[in-house]
C-alpha cells in the first residue's frame, strides 16, 4: 500500500502499512502544509491588521470630512443670507407706479442670477436683470462685485445705454481675468414708455394682445469694450412686461425639449389681463409641469404699469 493509494482511498487505518519512504513523504507533506498555513496565517493576520487600521483611518477621515462639510454648509448659509440681503426688498416707490411680482431661485445656496431696482439720477425708476456665467459661490461673488460697480456707475450716468456701457468698461478687465461674463437686461421707465439695453438677457412686452420681444443682440458684460444700443417701447397702463434669465426657457423636459421663449411669451400674452402675481404663478405652474429638473438659476419678473 502506497501513500498515494491511502490518500486516494481515504483509509487512515492502513497508514501502518506504508513504507519508510512513504512515511518520510507524509512527514514532509505534513510539515510543508503546516509551514504554508503558518505563512498564510501571518499574511492574513497582517492584512487583517492593516484593514482594521485602514478602517480606523477612514472613520477619522469621515469625521474630518463631516466637520469640513459642516463648516462649508455654515459658510454657504451665511453667503446665502448675504446674497439675499443684496437683492431688493421693499420698494414702495416702485409699487406705487408698478404692480410687479418676482420669482428668483438659485440652483444652489448662492448663485449668479441677480436683479435689482434702481432710482436713476434723473428720478426715473429702473430694473436690471443679470445672469453671471457659472453657478455657486464664484458667480455669487461676481454678482456682489457687479452690484458695487453698478452703484458707482449710477452716480456717474443715467441713460440705460450709458449705464451699461460704463459698467462694461469698468468691469471688462476684471471679468476677463476671472473668465466670467454676465448677460444684461437694463430697463428704465419713462412716463409712458421704457428704454432698454439688452445684452443676452430676455424681455417681452405684451401690449394690446401683441407680443414685442426684446432685441437681445448686444454683447454680454465682460467680453469686450463696445458701444451698446438702446431701444424704446411704449409702456402704458395695462401693458405687461416680463424680464427673465435663461434658466426657465432653457430647461428641458424628460424628452429633451426646451421650455422655450415662445411658450413663456404665449403664457404671458394669454394671461395678460390677470394681476402680475397671477401671471407669474400661471407661468410657474406651467413650467413646474414641464421641466424634469432645474439646471440653472431662474429669475422671472412680471410688471404692469398701474393706472396713473
Amino acid at each position: 500500500m502506497t501513500l498515494d493509494e491511502i490518500l486516494e482511498g481515504r483509509d487512515p487505518d492502513r497508514l501502518s502499512e506504508l513504507s519508510r519512504e512513504d512515511m518520510r513523504r507524509l512527514f514532509w507533506m505534513y510539515k510543508g502544509l503546516l509551514k504554508r498555513v503558518e505563512r498564510d496565517t501571518a499574511y492574513w493576520q497582517a492584512t487583517n491588521d492593516n484593514l482594521r487600521t485602514a478602517y480606523e483611518r477612514l472613520d477619522e477621515q469621515e469625521r474630518e470630512l463631516a466637520r469640513a462639510y459642516q463648516t462649508i454648509r455654515q459658510d454657504l448659509e451665511i453667503a446665502q443670507q448675504v446674497q439675499h440681503a443684496l437683492l431688493p426688498k421693499d420698494h414702495p416707490e416702485m409699487l406705487a407706479r408698478f404692480e410687479f411680482s418676482v420669482y428668483h431661485k438659485q440652483m444652489t445656496e448662492v448663485g449668479g442670477d441677480y436683479y435689482d431696482f434702481y432710482r436713476l439720477r434723473d428720478g426715473s425708476h429702473a430694473i436690471g436683470v443679470f445672469d453671471i456665467s457659472g453657478h455657486g459661490v464664484s458667480a455669487a461673488l461676481i454678482m456682489a462685485y457687479l452690484k458695487a460697480q453698478l452703484v458707482q456707475t449710477m452716480e456717474q450716468v443715467s441713460r440705460p445705454r450709458d449705464i451699461v456701457e460704463y459698467l462694461n468698461n469698468a468691469t471688462v478687465g476684471f471679468l476677463r481675468e476671472v473668465r466670467r461674463y454676465a448677460t444684461v437686461n437694463f430697463v428704465a421707465f419713462g412716463e409712458r414708455t421704457f428704454r432698454y439695453v439688452c445684452g443676452g438677457g430676455y424681455g417681452v412686452l405684451v401690449r394690446g394682445g401683441e407680443v414685442h420681444t426684446f432685441n437681445k443682440g448686444d454683447p454680454f458684460i465682460g467680453l469686450r469694450r463696445r458701444a451698446y444700443s438702446e431701444y424704446e417701447l411704449p409702456f402704458e397702463t395695462g401693458d405687461v412686461l416680463a424680464l427673465y434669465t435663461d434658466g426657465m426657457v432653457e430647461a428641458q423636459d424628460s424628452a429633451g425639449a426646451d421650455y422655450s421663449t415662445r411658450r413663456l411669451h404665449e403664457l404671458v400674452r394669454t394671461n395678460a389681463e390677470l394681476p402680475a402675481n397671477q401671471i407669474l404663478q400661471r407661468c410657474l405652474d406651467d413650467y413646474g409641469q414641464f421641466r424634469r429638473v432645474d439646471a440653472d438659476d431662474i429669475t422671472l419678473i412680471v410688471l404692469r404699469r398701474r393706472a396713473a
Binding site: G32, R39, Y43, Q45, A46, D49
Partner: protein, 180 residues
Amino acid sequence: MSDESEPSEPVVHGALMGGFAQACVNLNIVAGRRATALLADIDMGRWFPLSKWMEIERMVGESYANVEPIRLKLGIEMMTLWYHHGPGKALIHRGADFLHFQTGSHGIASVIRGPREVVGSFDLAEFDSERGHAVIRSSTPFDKTIERGVLIGGVMAPGDLYYVDVTNDGDPNRLVVEFH
C-alpha cells in the same frame, strides 16, 4: 540601454520590476488608479533605476504596520507569476533547479546591473540535495524578506517538493534553504 554597457548607476530590468509591480497589484497592496498607474509606468523591455524599485519597496513598507509577512508573500507571488505566467516553466523543471538558476548568470545577476558594491552578489554557497539543504549568500540591495519569499516561491513553483523554508539564521545575508 544595451545589455553590453555597464551602467554607472544601478538599474533593474523591467521584467523584474513588472513582476514586482504585478505582485503588489495581485495582493491588493496597491489598487484602483494607483495600480493602473504603477503598471502603466513599467515597460518590461527597459531598464529602470534601482531607486524606482526601492520606491515601491518603501511604499509597501509604509502601507503595513506588520509588513514582514506581506513582503514574504510578495516574493512568493512574484515567483508564482514568473513560473506560471512567465518564462519560469520552460527554464526549470524541479524546485531545487531554481536555486542553481537564480544564483547563475540568468538569475538575479541578469536583472540587476551596476557597480558591484551596490548590486552585490547572489551566490549558492552550499547545496546538498540529499539533505535538502542549501545556503545562499546574498549582498544584493533587495529587501531580504522579499528575497526569502522569492526563494520560497521559486523552489515551490514546480510543485515537486513538499516542504520549503528559507530562514536568515541570524545573518540577513545568509539565506538557509530547507527543501524536501
